[in-house]
């Protein structure tokens, strides 16, 4: 989706066209809801926060800089709302048990042990590492886009992403989920084969 079409869509939304508003929601709902689920680890919370994200998006749409891409801007709002929701969770300890319970049930839906382990590793990651990892590997954002999304330098993004990857790779190795790595047998010249018998 080009930036021009995003700008045109935003212009129509600012004019109050409900059809354009629906198009905008449908265009970005996968990204917004996906990030919310990954960061909040709770589908109901994710839906509530995603709805709040779009409310905020339409409220602030007149402040969007049309020279920049719309997607990182919306994902930036998403990240901020998720952080706020996670901070509220800290103040509501009674919800944590339910969340942990729900989060622990999520990987059971996945049949593949590897994907379940990756999900668990991402869930247990530090929040800022998780944000960067999810945005890069699950939503295909570039370093520059992530930098614009979470308002951090590109160097910081690279560092966090490297650490996040290292955590997952280490976990996969520790859990023995890496296939055995035996070197491929080299072809031995026939004249060097030992003579038996």
């Amino acid at each position: 989706m080009t930036a021009d079409s995003d700008a045109e869509l935003v212009s129509r939304c600012l004019l109050g066209e409900s059809a354009a508003m629906r198009v905008l929601v449908e265009r970005f709902q996968n990204d917004v809801f996906g990030v919310c689920v990954r960061l909040l680890r709770h589908s109901q919370d994710a839906e509530d926060v995603a709805q709040e994200v779009f409310v905020r998006v339409f409220r602030s749409l007149n402040r969007w800089d049309a020279t920049r891409q719309l997607r990182p801007w919306i994902l930036g709002i998403t990240i901020n709302r998720c952080r706020t929701a996670m901070a509220k969770r800290v103040r509501r300890p009674e919800l944590v048990d339910h969340l942990n319970e729900t989060a622990s049930q999520k990987p059971e839906d996945d049949t593949h042990e590897l994907t379940a382990e990756i999900r668990t590793a991402v869930d247990e990651m530090r929040a800022d590492y998780r944000e960067v990892f999810v945005l890069f590997h699950e939503h295909g954002q570039s370093y520059e886009e992530i930098s614009a999304t979470i308002d951090r330098p590109v160097g910081t993004i690279k560092t966090w992403l490297h650490r996040a990857r290292t955590e997952i790779l280490t976990r996969l190795k520790r859990r023995g989920l890496v296939p055995p790595t035996e070197p491929t047998p080299k072809k031995v010249p026939e004249h060097t084969l030992p003579v038996t018998g």
């Binding site: 929601v25 709902q29 996906g34 339409f58 409220r59 996945d110 699950e138 990857r165 070197p183």
Partner: protein
């Protein structure tokens, strides 16, 4: 050894490029991994992680998400409009209060300036509580004076209408004639007579009554 270390560094760089998506995972199948078990394990782990990430099921919002979101957006927009109207009203009210305050302040600030400019007036004394009470008392007196006059004027008109020519009160002669003493204290009997005479004088109607001889 040196060649192996350089190859490990190059392989590490290749791993990062694969993880960044700049190179395909197949780029890790290089001869170096045949001789370096560490890099071989790293390559296998990276390939496994990328395969696991690709196998993650896509996360999709629940059905009807957009349909549920739009009414919330519209409701929020209405609330926002109301909040904006309230903010504008409050700002206007605050501006009006500020303007009124400034106007009053300027007016009161101008008065001392005029007094100071006047050369004939002496230096203004600092305000005192007693002087303020005195001013307030004189103001109350001036206010009540008018009301009092308005209330008493009908009575005065009544007495004016009764102020017709009438005979002078006849002095009541007592026999024997009592020589008034020089003392300001008069006998009670004389006082009563005088009071009666004053009453008869003021009320003219009683003047025509026959005088009683004492």
């Amino acid at each position: 050894m040196n060649e192996t270390l350089t190859s490990c560094e190059q392989f590490e760089d290749a791993i990062h490029r694969v993880l960044d998506g700049d190179l395909p995972p197949a780029a890790l199948a290089v001869p170096h991994v045949e001789v370096c078990p560490t890099c071989r394990e790293s390559a296998a782990t990276v390939v496994a992680m990328l395969a696991g990430l690709q196998a993650l099921p896509p996360i999709e919002p629940p059905p009807g998400f957009a349909t549920r979101v739009l009414p919330a957006v519209v409701a929020e927009r209405r609330r926002s409009d109301v909040r904006r109207s309230v903010r504008i009203a409050m700002a206007s009210l605050a501006a009006a209060v500020v303007v009124a305050f400034l106007a009053i302040h300027n007016r009161t600030a101008d008065r001392p300036a005029m007094v100071v400019k006047s050369p004939s007036l002496p230096n203004a004394a600092p305000p005192s509580v007693g002087r303020s009470f005195a001013d307030a008392g004189s103001a109350v007196v001036s206010l009540t004076r008018r009301a009092t006059q308005e209330s008493l004027s009908p009575a005065r008109n009544l007495f004016a209408s009764l102020d017709t020519p009438r005979p002078l009160p006849i002095p009541i002669s007592a026999s024997p004639v009592v020589v008034p003493s020089a003392s300001p204290v008069q006998p009670i009997t004389n006082t009563a007579k005088r009071a009666l005479n004053l009453f008869i004088r003021d009320v003219g109607g009683f003047a025509s009554l026959p005088q009683q001889k004492s």
